[in-house]
Assembly symmetry: D2
Homo-oligomer: 134 residues x 4
C-alpha cells in the first residue's frame, strides 16, 4: 500500500479533510495536517480535537498497512495525553501498531509540530476490524 493510495481513498471518503497521509511502512504510518487549512485559537494554538484527529488518522492509516484500505475499521477507544500547547506550521503524528489481534489492533501514537523532539501529544488506542460476513 502506498501513500498515494491512502490519500486517494481519503479524497473520496473524507472529502475536504485536511488530514492526509505522509508516510507508511509495515505496521506504521505518519499523518499530517497543514495548519494553514484549519482554524487556530488566539496565540496560534492548534486545538485539542485537531491534535486528536491527527493521532486518530495516523492509527487508521497504520491499520491499513495490515488490513488493506478498510473504511469500516473503527476507533473503539483512544486515550490521549497533551504534553504542551501545539503551535507550528504543520502537525504530524506517527502511529506504530503494538498488537494485531483477530478482532482489534492496538497502537501507540506520538504527535509533534515543528520539532519532533518536543512532542505535543502521546496517545494509545484500539481499532476494531469490521465484522466478517458469514
Amino acid at each position: 500500500m502506498t501513500v498515494d493510495e491512502v490519500n486517494a481513498f481519503l479524497a473520496r471518503d473524507f472529502p475536504g479533510t485536511s488530514n492526509n497521509c505522509a508516510e507508511v511502512g509495515p505496521g506504521w504510518a505518519v499523518a499530517r495536517i497543514d495548519t494553514s487549512e484549519i482554524g487556530l485559537r488566539p496565540g496560534g494554538i492548534i486545538s485539542g480535537p485537531t491534535v486528536f484527529g491527527v493521532c486518530d488518522g495516523a492509527l487508521y492509516y497504520a491499520c491499513f498497512t495490515v488490513l488493506g484500505i478498510e473504511p469500516m475499521a473503527l476507533t473503539s477507544e483512544l486515550s490521549i495525553r497533551f504534553l504542551r500547547p501545539a503551535r507550528g506550521t504543520e502537525l504530524r503524528a506517527r502511529a506504530d501498531l503494538q498488537s494485531v489481534g483477530r478482532r482489534s489492533l492496538v497502537g501507540n501514537v506520538v504527535s509533534w509540530t515543528d520539532d519532533i523532539e518536543r512532542p505535543v501529544a502521546v496517545a494509545q488506542g484500539t481499532y476494531v476490524r469490521p465484522p466478517t460476513p458469514g
Copy 2:
C-alpha cells in the same frame, strides 16, 4: 455563569467554531454541535474527532462552572470510548465533574445524537488549572 456568557467567550476566542454551549449548571455542562455545519463521512457518519471535540468542549464548559471562564484551562488527558456510529442532526455531550482538586479537575462525559438513551461515546478526562502567578 450563563450559557450566553460561555458562547460569547467562544465567539471571541474560537471564531468559527461549530461547538457551543447548550446548558450549564453547578459542576456540569452540555456542549452541542450542529451537524449541518460540519463535514460528514459517506453514510452521514459524524467523524471521531468531531465526537471527541464535543466531549472535550463539554468538559471545558463544566470546568468554567468552577473556575469561571478560564481560557487557559487545558486538557491534560482524555480517554474516549466510541460505542456506535454517530448519525443525526445534532451532536451533544454532557460532562459532570467528579473531582475538583487544587491542580486539576476530572470529569465524566457522555455524548449522543438524536436518542439520549443510545450514547455514541463515553469519555473521562482531566483539565489542569492554569498556573497561578506568584
Copy 3:
C-alpha cells in the same frame, strides 16, 4: 442478585482475595478492600495496583447486575486517574454503568478511603460479555 451471592462466587473463584462486594443495585456496585489484609507501603499508602483492583472489582460486580454472575466477563480496557495518595482503614470503589451494549458494558468508577468527599481515584472502563455459544 445479592451481595451475599457475589461474595459466595468470589470465595469460590477468587480464593483468598481481599476484594469483596459491599453493595449492589441496578447498574451499580460498591467493592471493598480491608486494608489490614494487604501490604502497605511505608507511610501507610495503599499501592496503585490495589486501587486499580478495587475499581476493576466494582465494575465487575456492576456488570453482574446486568449479566448475572458471569465469571467470563473480562476487562477489555480501563483508564484510571490517581487523585491523591490513598491512606485509610478501608478502600472502597463505586461503579456505575453508563452504557450496556450487545458486546460490551462501559462504566464510571470512583474510589475513596475514609472520606467519600475526597476520592483517591476515578476510572472509566469497558467489560466485554463472553461470546455466546452458537
Copy 4:
C-alpha cells in the same frame, strides 16, 4: 542505575512485593512477577490487577532511569488494554518512556507471559515527578 539497586530499593520500600526489576536501560525497564508467588484464578489466569501492577512497576522503574530512584514518583494516570487471558509461569512488562517533561513522564508499556510475540496487555501512562522543595 542497576537492576540490583532497583531491587534493593523495592525490598526496603515494598517489603513482600513479588514485583521486581529484571532489566533496565536508558529510558526503559522490564518488570517481572513470578506467578508462583501470587494467587491465580481458576484456569491458571493471572488477574487483571496483577497485570496492571507489572505494567505500572515497569513504568516506575523506567522513570528511575531518568530521575534516579525516586520513591515519590507517582502514577498520575494509566490506561490499559487487555488483549488475551494471561497464563504462564512468569509475567513481564517492558516500559519505554516517550516523553520526559519538567513535571511528568509518559511511557508505553507492553506485557507478556511466556511468548513475547503474544502480549497480554498494552498500556500508556503518566508519572509525575515529586514537587521540588523551594
